[in-house]
Amino acid sequence: MKLWILVRRELALAFGRSANVALPLVFFLSLVILFPFGIGPDPQTLSLVGPAVLWAGPLLGTLLALDSTFQPDVEDGTLEVLMTGSTPLEVVVLGKALAVWVGTALPLVIVAPIFGMMLSMETTALTGTFLSLLAGTPALALFGTIGAAVTAPLRRSGMLLSVIILPLLVPTLIFGVGAAAGYGDAALPFRAPFLLLCALSLFAAVLAPIAGAAAIRALR
């Protein structure tokens, strides 16, 4: 219940006072549009890069959102109140991660198939990418939240962030596009990378609250 209160607040902050829900859609559109300009209009090539492009959207969106996950709370005193409240910090961290996922990644995942079609992707490829995104983006948001929690208080932490996030992100991305490519392609595996992706997200859901809360407690 506290979780829900937190998530709702984070979402309200993320969407701003005007509650612009269409924004993720336009964001993704403006991102997808770049690739035909760069790669050229050939549908064959475009459909090949489709899964990667569809993964790039939620990835960029998540990274954009992470920047304002903990840092503002440190600055405006919110974190102090969150820490002296009766709600476990694990719940707070989970709430932040959930909000990043629901508010940023999920809308992008939902509209991804539309943009896949514009990139001439076929139905099987679309389905595969969609499923892999659904399974993998929670891991992006959760791992990202760990990074945000660890680096929020320490201000001089440029490289620290990449050192923390990268090793966690890379397997997610690899299994993600791997599963996307494998769906409906007899020569490539789908089940294995997909299950690994799910496992990563589950693992992240356990790890992130614990690690994130520990990082914040370390502020003391």
Partner: protein
């Protein structure tokens, strides 16, 4: 002229003037539309190459023109905002954006409906098509920008700046077919050496274009009137709130219900 401009610049006088103009425009628009639609669907001949699908043109081309015209209008308004700083210029631009977005979407939709029989696909990443899509994004981005500020007075100039910078996209749309070798038709109506389109098709097209222009103008005036009223309501609400601080006590339950 300057008097006319001053009239427009004062919201009250704008309301009075637009009150008279609006019915005229709306009537002209609908009458022309009736004629135009009749001409396009029953009088104009089917194309010997394209068959009946050519009739999509009578919607598609005017919609595409208006999509660009609307942005040009917003650009002019943006200059008004930045140079004369008059709120009515912002009202004009802000009212135009959603209408422009709709016409852009219309051009995209009719275009891709036409594209399926003509090119065999709904969508290609052709320069013109993509630049129209970019125009749509600009419209949507501007709408989002306006909505992100809670005080219209604060969003006026930022939006105007984005409109101006974004206006470089207009020539790109217009000339993309000439600059890049693409699937899309090059200009056949507005070109230096006169129209290359058959007069039997040209006439209905011009009537439709005129009709849709008037409909656009009516919509724009209507939206501007709405925007003026909305800002007045906003002011009234704020004043009421300032006078009766406790009058909102019931609202609390609504928020956390």
């Amino acid at each position: 002229m300057s008097n006319w401009f001053q009239n427009l610049a004062n919201p009250t006088r704008f309301m009075a003037l637009s009150d008279k103009l609006l019915p005229t425009f709306a009537l002209l628009g609908s009458a022309l539309l009736a004629v135009g639609l009749y001409q396009s669907f029953f009088v104009a001949p089917a194309d010997y190459q394209q068959g009946e699908t050519v009739r999509i043109m009578f919607i598609h081309v005017p919609a595409a023109w208006i999509a660009m015209f609307c942005y040009a209008l917003m650009t002019a308004s943006a200059i008004g905002t930045l140079v004369w700083r008059h709120p009515m210029a912002d009202v004009s631009a802000r009212a135009a954006a959603p209408i422009g977005a709709v016409f852009t979407a219309l051009a995209l939709i009719t275009g891709s409906l036409w594209g399926k029989p003509m090119w065999g696909t709904w969508w290609v990443w052709d320069a013109r098509l993509t630049s129209v899509l970019v125009l749509l994004i600009i419209y949507l981005g501007l709408i989002a920008l306006w909505r992100a500020f809670d005080d219209p007075a604060r969003s006026a100039r930022p939006a105007a700046i984005v409109i101006l910078v974004g206006s470089i996209n207009l020539p790109i749309i217009k000339f993309s077919v000439d600059w890049w070798n693409t699937l899309h038709q090059p200009a056949s109506v507005f070109r230096m050496d006169g129209p290359t389109i058959h007069p039997d098709l040209l006439w209905p097209l011009m009537i439709m274009a005129l009709a849709i222009t008037f409909i656009f103008l009516s919509l724009h005036l209507l939206a501007m009137r709405n925007e003026v009223l909305a800002r007045r309501v906003r002011r009234l609400e704020q004043r009421a709130a300032a006078r009766g601080p406790t009058s909102r006590s019931q609202n609390d339950t609504r928020v956390h219900a």
